[in-house]
Amino acid sequence: MSALLSIHDLKSYYGDFQALFGVDFEIAEREIVAIIGANGAGKSTFLKTITGLLKAEPATVMYKGRPIGGLPAHRIVADGIAMVPEGRRLFPSLSVEENLLMGAFTKRAGRWDLARVYELFPILKEKRNSPGTSLSGGQQQMVAIGRALMSNPDLLICDEISLGLAPAVIKEIYEALEKIVAGGLTAIIVEQDVGTAKRVSQRLYCLQEGRVSLQGRSSELTHEQISLAYFGV
């Protein structure tokens, strides 16, 4: 099984502040990997580096066997890595449908189009002409996920998609996500909620202060191991 994305010794900086200290990471095709960690552990930094929003040495991020570290974000999404960003980041002056269409900006071919997204989230079809930011939190998250799918990615990255949502809505979102990956997608899920992260993923990484503090098969890791890796001692 060859890796779709492999990251080796990734270091990342905000100015003089170092946020990542040599992270190693791998994900194979059709795998779902969760990343957990406390606030400030470096999860979002890690994702921003993969998606090109932060600079990195080219060879530290290998995707489909090619170095993509430091490529601009718009090139990386065209290569098939899409992100559902933390806080959703919908475009406030665009309608729901226009937000979704922005996802298709790269014109990457694949199975996802407006009709498929509306099939997955029927409520969005009803609200297609409303401003994206007038929707409820859960519905906005659906738009953000749909928008990422519209780029027909090979690798979908979800950054804290349950943040600030009601438990019932979180359940609904994750059920949709299961349907999505069942269609043959690779996904990285970043979660604060360890229970959810363990349940949806096959493997799990825990970050702590910019380093990988634990990794393994989600079903085999014990609660004690995780809390130790999560909080340190």
Partner: protein, 288 residues
């Protein structure tokens, strides 16, 4: 009574020209939050390019437009991609200082090549033709053409922004450049394309300005003021608002000039200050 109707009509027509000056300014501010201080000098630069086409190559003014607009578009693209993109930051001072510098450079290059003489673009008698209207009124053919162009361009820009992929990308990038990049939008290109359109419009506006009146290399800043005032009066983010802002500015100037010839420009400025005082977002700000 009739002289006031006439003043309003002439004001509306000149307002079309102000709107042409202002559209690009509004577009650049809307998408990049960037104020192009050299915008007025770009008007004059395009007027001189038009003059060059008509005098050196013997083109008619509208043929000159067909040549100058693509040149202006190219200048806008290269200027943004090569220089102004590097000034975009949270600090608005950077782009202000750089475009201020460009303003000085453009003025001095024009002085160097064309001298300080006032010039005009020959429009083959078009400038003196008029259409007779009811009640002894007459509207100049050239001002009518200019106003018509402004309306057409407003419709075109509104369509471009509302109903095209690049228009959506413009609005998305304006909302959140980082998120737009995650969608595959190359911000550097989108910004350059926006400025290309903004300066491209000046290819039309500059030549109309040169056909309508005389101009000289240091006239730019005055045009910039009118463009600014039209944008502020109309409200940011709507091209119809910008057109309305230009028209309102034109009307107040024309009415002022009828009261006293020295009051025309002044009354325009006063209107601008009043709008800024009582409706700082402009009269027709973007609704959503």
């Amino acid at each position: 009574m009739m002289i006031w109707v006439d003043a309003v009509m002439q004001g509306v027509l000149i307002g079309g020209l102000y709107a042409l000056f202002a559209m690009g300014l509004s577009l650049m501010f809307g998408i990049m939050r960037m104020v192009n201080v050299a915008h007025g000098d770009m008007v004059i630069l395009m007027a001189f390019l038009g003059l060059l086409m008509t005098e050196a190559f013997g083109l008619g003014p509208f043929a000159a437009m067909a040549v100058v607009v693509p040149i202006a578009f190219g200048i806008g693209y290269v200027l943004q991609r090569g220089v102004l993109n590097h000034t975009i930051s949270k600090d608005p001072l950077r782009s202000l200082v750089v475009t201020f510098g460009i303003s000085i450079v453009v003025q001095n290059l024009l002085l160097e090549f064309f001298s300080a003489d006032t010039r005009a673009i020959a429009s083959g008698g078009l400038e003196s033709q008029s259409v007779a209207l009811a009640g002894n009124l007459a509207a100049g053919v050239l001002p009518l053409i200019i106003f018509g162009s402004a309306v057409l361009l407003t419709i075109a820009l509104q369509q471009l922004f509302g109903n095209t992929t690049i228009g959506r990308a413009f609005r998305a990038t304006s909302d959140d450049p980082g998120a737009a990049a995650l969608m595959g939008v190359n911000n550097a290109h989108v910004y350059a394309f926006a400025t290309a359109i903004a300066i491209g419009i000046l290819g039309i506006a500059g030549i109309f300005h040169g056909m309508r009146t005389i101009f000289s290399p240091t006239d730019g800043p005055a045009q910039l003021i009118y463009a600014f005032e039209a944008v502020i009066i109309g409200g940011m983010g709507s091209f119809w608002g910008t057109l309305a802002g230009g028209v309102i500015l034109g009307i107040t100037q024309a009415i002022g000039a009828r009261i006293d010839p020295g009051w025309g420009v002044l009354l325009g400025h006063v209107t601008f200050v009043l709008v800024l005082l009582f409706k700082p977002n402009g009269l027709f700000p973007k609704t959503r």
